[in-house]
Every structure is written in C-alpha cells, then in structure tokens.
C-alpha cells in the first residue's frame, strides 16, 4: 500500500486527527458557500468572459499558455507520480536494502528534454508576440474611426475627458466635455484612451474589455479597447494607490452609435435647471423620511443593490430620466447650499455660478450616473446622503473628508436633504 | 581559518592556506568592488536617464561646470593612485619608512581632491545657484559626485588609520604597554590635522577669491581663521612627535595584504572617478 509509506507510523492516531481536520474544514466549506462558485468565471470583472477584441486577444494568449502548460504538467506530473510510486521502498526490509546503482545522469535525455522545452516555449512565444503588437495600439486600418478619450486618475476617482467634444459652460463659453467615474463609449468602435494621473500611480482596468495599463506621472501612456456589443462594464484601479485603493472603481457604458451621440448632446448641455413650480414639500419630505439615516450605515457597508445584476444597461438608461416628484424649491435651496458650503471650490457644475473647481469630479450631470464616490456606491438619494454626511466613513482618507475638515463644513439634516435633491436633479 | 601556519617566505600573490591561492582579504575586496560597481552603476544611470529626459527649463550644465578645476583634481587623484601603488610595493619589500611616506602623499593628494570638491560644490551653490533641491541636475549631480566624495573620504580615513597602524610597536618593544592609547591619540591628531588644514586652505582660497587685493584677502583670512591655523600647526607638531623613532614596529611584509586591499579600493575609487568625469563632465562638451 503506497499510502502507508506516506502516512505516519501510528495509524490510529493519525486517522483521528485527519477525521477531525476534514470534518472541521468540510463543515466550514458547506456552511459558507456553494463550492462550485469558485470556478464560475462569470463575475463582473471576469477576464475570461470577455466583451471586446483586446480582451479576447489577451484571453487567447492565456488559453494557449494554459494548454501548453497543462500538457507539460500532465506529462511531467505523471512521470513524477509514476517514479514516486514505482521506486519507493515498499517495506522496512526494502528501506535497508543495499543502495540502487549509483548512476549520474544521461546527457542525451537531458538535451532532448531541453530541446522539447524550447519547442514548447516557441508555441507560446508566437501568439505572445502577435498579441503584444495587436493589443498595443489601435490597428492601422481602424485608426480613423477611433474615439480619443483622456482618462486621469486621482486619489481615488477617475476623470474622463472627451477632447474632441465641446460642452457648454454658459452662453457661448465652451470647454472639452468632462465627466467622472463612468466612461460612456460607443460600441463597435475602437477607443484610444490617454492615461494620465494627477497624483500617484493608478492603473486603468476594465477586465472584460482590456487588460490594464498604468497611469504614471510624467509618462504618456495609453491603451485601446473596444466593446463589441452595447453593455455595462465594471472597472477598478489595479495599482496600489493609497488608503482607498480598494474602492477606486469605475464603470464603462458602451452604447449603440445613435444613443451615444444623443448622450453626448445631452452631456454637452450645462446643468439642468428645474422649472420653478409648485413645491411638493410634503411629498419630498415623505420621500426622505422613508430613507435610512446616514448614521444607520455600518462602516464599510455594501453600497450596491441587485439593481445592476440582471440588465445593467437598461438600469443605466432609466437613471438618465428625471426623477419623479422633484421639489423645485428644495432643489433651489440645494443649489444655493452647493455654492455657500464651498462645494464649488472643488467641483465643476457647468451652469452654476462659481462652480469651477477641478480638485473633485465634474458633477454637471451627476444625477444621470449610476454610481457615486468613485464607483463605490449606487447613486440613490440614500447613498448620496450617506456619502456627503461623512465622506471619511465611506471612503477612508478621501479629499472631500479633508475638505470638510479644513473648510469647517457641517451639514444640518435638512441641508443634506436639499443638497441631495439638487445633485440628484442633475440629469 | 586554515590550520596551516604562515610560511616563512612570503609570496604576495599566492596564499598557500586558501584553495585558490588568492588571499581571503583580496578576494573579499574584489567581490566588494564588484558590488560597489553596481552602486555607482545605479547612480550614474540615474544621472544619465535624467540627462536624456531633462525637465523643461532645467539648468544647462555647461553654464555651471568648470572643467579646468575638475581636470586638475582628476589629475591629482590619478597621481594619488600612483603613490598608492608605490606604498604597496614598498611594504611588500618591507620598507616601512618608504611605505609611510607614500601613504602620506596619497592622503595629501586625496585631501586636495576633496578640497577641490568642497570648493566646487560651494561655487555651484553660491555662485551658480544650483542646489540639490532646485533642479534635477543638482539632485543627480550632487548625489553622484557626493557619493564618490564619500568614498574618497572613507579612503583617506582608511589610509590615515593604516599610516597610524604602521607605528604599532612590536613584541618586546617597551612602548607596547601603551600602544592602544598611542594609536588612538595618533589617529585623532592626524584627523584633526587633516580637517584643520582643509578648513584653513579653503578659507584662504575663498578669502582671496572674494577680496579686492591679495593683502586684504590674506589679512581677512588670518583674522578669521587664526584659531584653525594654530590648531593645524599644533596637530602637525603632534604628528612629528608621534612619528619619532620608537624602536621596532609590528608592521612588515605580513601587512602587505592589508595595504594591498586598501590599494585596490583606492584604485577602484579612482577608476570610478574617471567614469564619472567622462559621463558627467566631458559628455557635456562633446
């Protein structure tokens, strides 16, 4: 019995221990989870369940390496297993038998194995080289149709700029279109993204569309990607960038060409003004009364619901519509607070006087985004209020918390409600 | 830790107690110098990388460097290597006296090099306004040449201690009783002499540079540095006193390997300077 030689001398004792260990670990496994979930490769950031040609090319190279190494593993592994089984000492007599012939090696075997390994590596090397050139830049024949975007990493959020698109600040004053944390792109068109950073090194990674490329200070990096079909994709910073690196997330939304140009047109407008009208104070109040208070959230509590699990793209579309039951008076109050509470020092909202800050994300159309706080929380009044109530508790070390402290900003509950109403109205 | 006793005839290129015949200390020094090569390699690479990618509006090295002074100090350092080689040859022949003089000359040349560097750095900061923090050129230049300067300074210290070591009394010499305190005082005096001289000479140079006439500059120098001049003179007196003949010393052919290892270090530091001189200074004028 081969196992016998592997096991400790006292079998009874060993068995007792093994049973205990197996029982404990087995119970823990069963209690915790469905085991097969481990190799379900269909997560939001799966590198295998891909949605664009760049990620597809990268997956292809990965599969080649897998097949080659699996084959070698089977060959070498079975040889090793066979040798271990065949040449083991089978009994204690065997263990004290005279030593086997003292052979020192066989150059022919060695050289042929070296040649075989080189051959296996060539099989990997060829697709690797092809992949390196393909994934590096937009293919020449597609250069003309590529859309250029500038992405800039900040601790801990993302700024996206469309240098070729103009946005109205007010009247005839224009600037390039800027948005934050949600990159909207046309599907089926290559996107060339210039990667820059405002502070430390970040890394731009949307696994389903393309592998990552770092954003490094004083270095002009770029990557290209393309979404084959319209969709909603999860992305995340992949280079450690300080306290809240783990929650520096973002989304990429790929739209059909027509819808994309509609979106551009909508985005290029300044911030939406809600028509003055009858106040629905009571309605709004009731709406907010039903929400959880910010202090009810536990630290690091999940900020997402199942809303984007089934059909995220349509969930995104519904976010573009103005909210029902808006209260113009409350929104006007929020707009005023946005100015007086010095939010404007850091945030740009085109169309709001003085709101030209560039330290924080552009909020001109923040209400139409599906997430806030750098892709960390879903954009709902409840979560937004949680965020502005105590930013430091949501996202450790972030600049808004520092800003609150430095500018001595304290928000009363009704002020929070007004600000949330205003921001959510920015569709 | 070989058990073989030292053989009586000494072959300086072969140590029978080691497997290869190379003395352990020499091998250690060679391995260390290989490592030190990588240190300087990393620093020189840093300098060259930023030379290739200069920031906009950076300083122009040609406006700052003074190749005449640096060429002079390079020549002095090369000469010091010659003296170092002479010191090694002398001690291999058992000529302690000649070895001491060569060591002192090497120290002297090393100090001239260091003095030139202090002068150069001062000029760059005060006259050319290049500091370690106001420009990338300043950052890489001062760090690289400063690291080399530290190597030279350590070399000078080592040479000085070796010079003092050459006075260790041999067994049976009556001075042996107090040899440790003598060594410490002697070393201290030598270091004070070197530092005070450096200070005095540099003060004189700066005073003459800044003054309108020679007399004014010299007068100012005497007035401000009187104390240091006195200290330097006292220290020299002390050195002469310590160096008086005091019977047999325990410093002979057996110590050749110590001097030789030190020599390897010193030559290496020289060679590195040739590389730095080429890569940092001369490259700008090609």
């Amino acid at each position: 019995m081969f196992l016998k030689s592997l096991l400790p001398t006292s079998r009874a004792e060993f068995n007792r221990w093994t049973r205990a260990v197996l029982a404990v670990s087995g119970l823990a496994l069963l209690a915790g989870c469905k085991f097969t979930d481990i190799w379900r490769m269909d997560g939001h950031q799966s590198t295998l369940d891909v949605a664009g040609p760049v990620a597809l090319a990268q997956r292809h190279v990965f599969y080649v390496t897998c097949w080659v190494t699996f084959t070698i593993f089977i060959l070498v592994g079975s040889t090793l297993a066979y040798a271990t089984l065949k040449f083991r000492a089978r009994s204690s007599d065997d263990q004290h038998a005279p030593p086997p012939p003292q052979s020192h090696g066989n150059p022919l075997v060695e050289l042929s194995l070296i040649a075989l390994s080189v051959g296996a590596l060539v099989i990997i090397a060829v697709p690797t080289l092809k992949g390196i050139w393909y994934t590096y830049d937009v293919p020449v024949q597609q250069k003309g149709e590529a859309l250029e975007v500038n992405a800039t990493g900040y601790q801990w959020w993302w700024r996206f700029e469309y240098p070729t698109e103009e946005a109205t600040v007010s009247g005839t004053v224009k600037m390039p279109l800027v948005t934050a944390n949600e990159l909207v792109i046309p599907a089926g068109r290559p996107i060339r993204i210039n990667l820059r950073t405002n502070d430390v090194i970040h890394s731009f990674w949307v696994p389903k569309l393309a592998g990552k490329v770092d954003m490094i200070p004083n270095r002009a990096n770029f990557l290209w990607l393309e979404a084959s079909q319209p969709g909603y994709f999860w992305g995340q910073c992949a280079e450690f960038c300080g306290d809240s690196h783990a929650v520096m997330r973002f989304r990429v939304i790929a739209l059909p060409a027509k819808e994309f140009s509609e979106w551009l047109e909508q985005q290029s407008k300044p911030a939406r003004d809600v028509e003055p009208g009858p106040t629905h104070g009571a309605v709004a109040k009731a709406q907010f009364a039903s929400l959880r208070l910010p202090d009810d959230f536990r630290p690091n509590e999940t900020g997402v619901t199942g809303r984007f699990e089934i059909d995220p793209l349509n969930a995104w579309r519904s976010q573009q519509m103005p909210n029902k039951g808006e209260d113009p008076a409350l929104i006007a109050k929020g707009r005023q607070l946005f100015q007086t509470k010095t939010c404007i020092a850091c945030h740009t909202v085109r169309g709001v006087l003085g709101a030209q800050g560039i330290t924080g994300p552009d909020l001109t159309h923040v209400g139409a985004r599906t997430t806030i706080a750098g892709g960390l929380l879903e954009n709902t009044p409840e979560e937004l209020r949680r965020w502005i109530h105590n930013p430091g508790a949501v996202k450790p070390g972030n600049k808004m918390a520092v800003g609150f402290l430095q500018n001595n900003i304290h928000l009363q509950p009704d002020e929070e409600v007004a600000l949330v109403s205003f921001l959510e109205s920015l569709k | 830790m070989s058990s073989q006793a030292a053989t009586l005839t000494i072959d300086h290129h072969h140590d029978p107690s080691t497997s290869t015949g190379i003395p352990n200390k020499k091998l250690l020094m060679w391995a260390f110098l290989a490592s030190d090569c990588m240190f300087f390699g990393a620093l020189i690479s840093t300098h060259l990388v930023y030379r290739l990618h200069p920031p906009a509006g950076g300083l122009d090295p040609k406006q700052i460097f003074s190749p005449e002074l640096t060429s002079f100090s390079t020549f002095i350092l090369l000469m010091s290597s010659l003296m170092m080689a002479l010191a090694v040859t002398a001690i291999q022949k058992g000529n302690v006296k000649s070895c001491r003089w060569s060591l002192l000359t090497t120290i002297f040349f090393g100090m001239i090099f260091l003095g030139c560097q202090v002068f150069e750095f001062t000029e760059f900061v005060e006259v050319k306004h290049m500091t370690i923090s106001n420009s990338l050129l300043g950052t890489t230049f001062f760090t690289l040449t400063g690291t080399h300067g530290c190597h030279v300074a350590i070399g000078v210290l080592w040479l000085s201690l070796m010079y003092v070591r050459s006075f260790k009394p041999a067994a049976g010499n009556p001075w042996q009783k107090s040899w440790l305190s003598h060594q410490l005082l002697h070393a201290g005096t030598l270091i004070v002499a070197l530092l005070a001289t450096l200070k005095v000479v540099l003060s004189l140079v700066f005073a003459l540079r800044d003054a309108a006439t020679f007399a004014a500059g010299f007068g100012h120098f005497i007035a401000s540095d009187f104390l240091f001049i006195v200290i330097a003179l006292l220290a020299y007196g002390g050195l002469v006193w310590f160096a008086r003949p005091r019977g047999a010393v325990q410093f002979d052919e057996m110590n050749a390997i110590d001097v030789e290892s030190m020599g390897l270090y010193w030559h290496f530091v020289d060679i590195v300077w040739i590389v730095i001189f080429t890569a940092v200074y001369l490259l700008e004028y090609i």
Partner: protein
C-alpha cells in the same frame, strides 16, 4: 547547542600580557555574552534561524489577519489603513525577515560543513551581518509601537512605488522606517554574501573542486553573487528616496521633472534577482534531500549546477516583466517576454533532473522527502503560472490581480518555504543531535500541504475573475465570495499546520529522540561529523575524493582512515586547530548603526530639531566607527586547539597574530 558550551573549552585560557583591557578577548562560552560575542558560524546560523522563524510567525499572523478581513465581502476586522499596513509588512517581513534569513541560517550552518571548513572566511564579519540584520528588523518593525498618525508601520506596499512613498502622499515616518530598515538589511545581506563568496572559493577542503561542491553550496554561491550584484540597485533607489524625503531632492519629484518609472526600474533590477535569491537556496536544499532519500546521486549534477548559475545570470535580464503594464512599448515588452520565457528552460531542467534522481532510486518516504516531493509538485504549478505571466498580453489581465498572488505564493510557500521546512527536518539531527518524530512531521506536512493548496489555489480563479490585489474590501456582487471564504479557511488550516510543525520542533529540541551520526545515511561531507558538530567542526580537515564525499568515504573506509591519520599528524605539527577569538566589536558596530538609523528615520525634520537629529545620528556614527576601529585593532589572531584521542580539547594556546 549544548555541546558547544562544554566547560572543557574554558581550560587554560590565557591572555597575552600586552593586551590592553579594552581589547581583551571575550571568553564566555555560555550565557548572553557568549551569544553576543560568538563568531562560530553554527551559533550565528542558529541565531539567524531563530530570528527568521520568529519573524516568520509574525508575518504569518499578519497573513491570517489579511485573510480574516477578506473572508466575507465588506468586512470590518481591519480598517483600510490597517489592512494596507498589514499586507505591506506581511510581504516585507516574509521576504526580508523570514525567507532570506532562514536561507542565511542554512548558508551559515551547513555550507562551511559541506566544504570541509572550520568556519567562514571572516567570522567577525559574519557576526556583524547577523546583528545588522537584527538592527534592520528592529527599524522595520519599530512603527508598530509608535502612534499611527505620525509614525506607524510601513504601509506603501513591499515595492513602495514612487510617488506614493513621497512626503506629499505619505508624510508619516512609516516610510522612513521602511527605507532605513531595508537599507540595513541590504548592508547585512551584502556583507554576509561577500563572506560566503570568499568562503566557498577559498576555504574548500583539499580535493573539494568546484565541480565536487554539494549543490546546496553551489546555490549558496550563486545566491551570494546575486545579492552582491542586485542589492546595490535597491540601496541606491532607497538612498534616492531618502534624499527626496529628507533633503527635498527631485529624483521622483514629479513637479520638477522626476520620473517615478525610474523607481520601478531600479527596484525590479533588484527585485527580480531577489526572487531567485529566495528560490535558489531552496532548490539547493531539494537537491540535497532528494539524492539522500533516493539513495543515489543527483541526476546530471553538472547540468543542475549550470542551470542554477544560468537562472542567476538570466535573472538580471528579465526585471521589466514586472512592468509589462507600464507602457514600455512593443519592442521592450517583447524582449522581456522572450527573456522571461528563456528562464523557464533552466528551471524546467532542474525539475527533470530531480525526477531523474528519483528514477531508479530506492525512495525512503521520510518527512524531509515528503517536503521535497511537495516542493517539486508545488513549484511546478508556480512555474507554470509564471510562464503564463511571461506571455505579456495574458499578463496585462493578470498583473496585480490575485492570479499573481497565487503564482508567487506557489513559488514562495510551495517552493522556498517547503524546501526550508524540509531542510530543517533534514538537518535537525545534525544540528541538535535529535530526530523529529516521523508521525508529527508527516502530519504537519499534510496539513500544511492541504491548507496551502486550499488557500492559494482558489486565488487563481479570483484573479481570473478580476479581483485586484491589495484591496481591503470587495463588494458581494463580484462573484468573489466563495473563493475568498474557502481561501480564508485554507489559511487557518495552513496556520494550524505551521503551529503543529513548530510545536513539534520545539518539543524535539527539548526532548526529542537522540540519534547518532549520519542518521539518514546521507552523502555529503557534513554528515561525517558527530552531532551536534564540535566548535572546530573537523578534527582533521578532510580530503575529498569524489562528489558525494561522505558516501565515498563510507564505501572506502580504510583508504580514508589512513589518509586522515597522516593529515592529523601533519596538522598537529603545524600547531593544531586554529580557532578565531570571540569578539564584541561586530555587535557594537551594529548597535552604532542601529542608533544612527533611528536618528535618520524616527526623528524626521518635522518632529525633532536638526540639532537633536544630528546628535543622534552622529553618536550612532561614532559608536559604529569605534566598533570598526577596535575590531581592526583587535587583529585577527586566534588560538590553537590540541585535541586528545577523544576529540576533547587537551590544550589551548594563543596563536601568533596573523595580521
């Protein structure tokens, strides 16, 4: 180590009349002073092992905290800052304070025995390396005990990418501790490696040609060269970082044109050879264990040696594969990808040779053999995921994801650590004269093996499923929950296995079964010694006639006995066994360095006056200088041992100063 402390050694210790009191040689053979002043490579090796295992447990505890935090999504066991500190210190501790010094423990203890030497070439330098390593470890960990707001333990990741480490983004002293700690560890490693290089090249016993060196000694030599040539790169990078933080220089200061990418190049020029510094000693150990328990020589010795050297050499040309995502351009990426694949060939060759060694052998399934076989399997898996990373386009997805975590833990735990744990089992009888119980040894092996795979295999899937590394939290909707949970359970099992392993070791050290010489019927020279080996190692320096010197001697006993008797006579005529004196000065020098390093790192410009800082730094420098100076003045004289027939020292005399 009891035998080393035999009072017999104390007899007839005489001081030369002319020795100044300050330079009197320490004579303690027991107690604290004996450990602080020891220059015996075996005691120094033991101390390296002791500190390494202590920090291994510390790093392991940090790992368990990390896994506990990630057990479920949005967990709050640790805050973001605590988590970042934890993974930084886990990485730094495991690499610099656990695996490297544990390898150094074997270098120190085993290597001189394997080449038939009585000590390393520079025994006091060896002690200096040890104490400077301890000083570095203290600096690195000092932040745990200081307020986190202004100090704290390092928290910028073990490769501390600029500009996150700059004063602007990390104003706390945590990064200063990291810089100075690594700096001291670098000094210690380089000094130790210089010593090993000279020892292996120069102190081989007669007949021990380079191509007869045991493979472990060969790998020690290659590793020592890697350390000597690669550590300068990180030393300079750290100097530049220190200058940036303390003197406002611009090496990585973006606003003045500094390029943070330079840090990455300098770091990985060191960092990749460092990977081989961690794995080559392990490969050496495996190449000792497998032949012993297969009872036949290593298959293709010259090729194993050559491939080891080849890995070391190529290791300097592949650093940028850690930077495939930094936008290097196509040509550079392709070149580094090809070079990295090339390195897989010598690595694969080693695996083939290990299998060849087993083939046709008579395998004895003892605990060290279990660890060695476990190593080969796990290292194969780690090697294969390594090849996947070499394919740059695939790496663009895997870089900085949990796939990488899985890969390097397969190489470092399944590789390095398995080999080191197996090595402890293997050489334990030689070091302490006691044998570890097979039952507890195998039990701990299986639990460690299972726990390790349960922890790290799911991480491959986590990585492929897009989970980035160094994240203190994740959302429940990402499909990462199960794998993380399983992984954490695995980590606890692994922890249990490690606990059993160490409990067994401590028990065996205190009251394990005593065994005689050469318990495994091994092949290399160290097994010819009684256990534990006496302070002078070899009574007579052996003469080596074959690659597996001890095996040859066992098979040709008459020839060897005769030869040995002749050598003993010759040696006695030369004055007996030359032993180095113990010395306190290496320790004093390291203390000076520690004080200076505290002055540099703990007292930043913002919380102490320049005068205070300078005072502390200068007093450290003075202590260090005096330590070195007295060390030099003390001279390298030693004493001679004359042994009686039983190998007991009969007589000691002061040897002449050998200058």
């Amino acid at each position: 180590m009891d035998a080393l402390a035999k009072p017999a050694f104390l007899t007839k210790e005489e001081k030369p009349a002319a020795k100044p009191r300050l330079l009197a040689h320490p004579t303690a053979k027991t107690g604290l002073m004996s450990w602080l002043t020891t220059v015996d490579h075996k005691r120094i090796g033991f101390l390296y092992g002791f500190f390494a295992l202590f920090f291994f447990l510390v790093g392991g505890f940090e790992a368990l905290l990390i896994r506990t935090q990630l057990m479920v999504p949005n967990n709050t066991v640790l805050t973001a800052q605590q988590y970042n500190t934890m993974f930084t210190m886990h990485g730094t501790t495991m690499i610099f304070l656990a695996i490297m010094p544990l390898s150094a423990a074997f270098f120190n203890f085993i290597m001189p025995l394997q080449i038939g030497a009585r000590d390393v070439a520079f025994p006091r330098l060896n002690a200096f390396s040890l104490w400077t390593f301890v000083a570095g470890a203290i600096i690195l960990n000092i932040g745990w005990f200081l307020p986190a707001a202004t100090h704290g333990a390092p928290n910028d990741g073990w490769f501390g990418y600029a500009p996150l480490t700059s004063k602007m983004f990390t104003p706390q002293h945590s990064t200063d501790y990291w810089v100075m700690g690594l700096q001291l560890l670098g000094v210690a490693s380089i000094a130790a490696s210089l010593n090993f290089i000279v020892t292996i090249i120069n102190l081989r016993a007669p007949g021990m040609t380079m191509m007869r060196l045991p493979v472990f000694t060969w790998m020690t030599l290659v590793t020592a060269f890697l350390i000597v040539l690669s550590f300068p790169a990180i030393t300079i990078a750290l100097v530049e970082l220190m200058m940036d933080r303390n003197f406002n220089t611009n090496f990585f200061e973006v606003s003045n044109g500094g390029m943070p990418i330079l840090w990455q190049h300098l770091f990985w020029v060191f960092g990749h050879p460092e990977v081989y510094i961690l794995i080559l000693p392990a490969m050496g150990i495996i190449s000792e264990i497998l032949p012993t328990f297969a009872r036949k020589p290593l298959f293709g010795y010259p090729i194993v040696v050559f491939s080891g050297a080849c890995i070391g050499f190529l290791g300097f040309g592949v650093w940028s594969h850690h930077m495939f995502t930094t936008g290097m351009g196509t040509v550079a990426t392709a070149a580094f990808a090809m070079a990295t694949m090339a390195i897989a060939v010598p690595t694969g060759v080693k695996i083939f040779n290990w299998i060849g060694t087993i083939w046709g052998g008579h395998l004895q399934m003892r605990t060290p053999m279990m660890f060695a076989l476990g190593f080969v399997w796990m290292f194969m898996i780690g090697g294969f995921s390594g090849v996947m990373h070499a394919a740059a386009p695939a790496d663009a997805q895997q870089q900085d994801s949990y796939f990488v975590i899985a890969h390097f833990h397969y190489v470092l735990i399944g590789g390095s650590l398995f080999a080191l744990l197996g090595g402890i089992h293997y050489w334990f009888p030689l070091m302490f004269g006691r044998k570890v119980s097979e039952f507890w040894g195998k039990l701990s092996f299986w639990i460690i093996f299972a726990g390790f795979n349960i922890t790290f295999f799911p991480m491959h899937f986590l990585g492929l499923n897009g989970m980035p590394r160094r994240t203190f939290t994740y959302d429940p909707n990402m499909g990462w929950n199960t794998a993380n949970f399983v992984s954490t359970i695995g980590a606890y099992i692994l922890g249990l296995g490690i606990f059993i392993y160490f409990a067994t070791m401590v028990y065996t050290y205190l009251s394990g079964e005593r065994v005689g010489r050469d318990v495994w019927d091994a092949r290399t020279l160290e097994w010819s010694l009684p256990n534990p080996p006496p302070e002078y190692n070899y009574r007579v320096i052996p003469t080596v006639h074959a690659r597996d010197a001890w095996w040859y001697e066992k098979n040709n006993p008459e020839e060897l006995a005769q030869e040995r008797a002749e050598h003993a006579k010759a040696e006695a005529a030369h004055g007996g066994i030359h032993m180095p004196f113990a010395s306190i000065w290496p320790f004093v020098t390291s203390v000076g360095i520690l004080i200076g390093a505290i002055g540099v790192s703990a007292l930043g410009p913002d919380n102490a006056t320049t005068a205070t800082r300078l005072t502390v730094v200068l007093s450290g420098a003075v202590v260090m200088f005096l330590g070195i100076y007295f060390w030099a003045l003390e001279g390298n004289e030693g004493y001679h041992l004359h042994l009686d027939e039983n190998g007991e020292p009969a007589e000691e005399e002061i040897a002449a100063d050998h200058h």
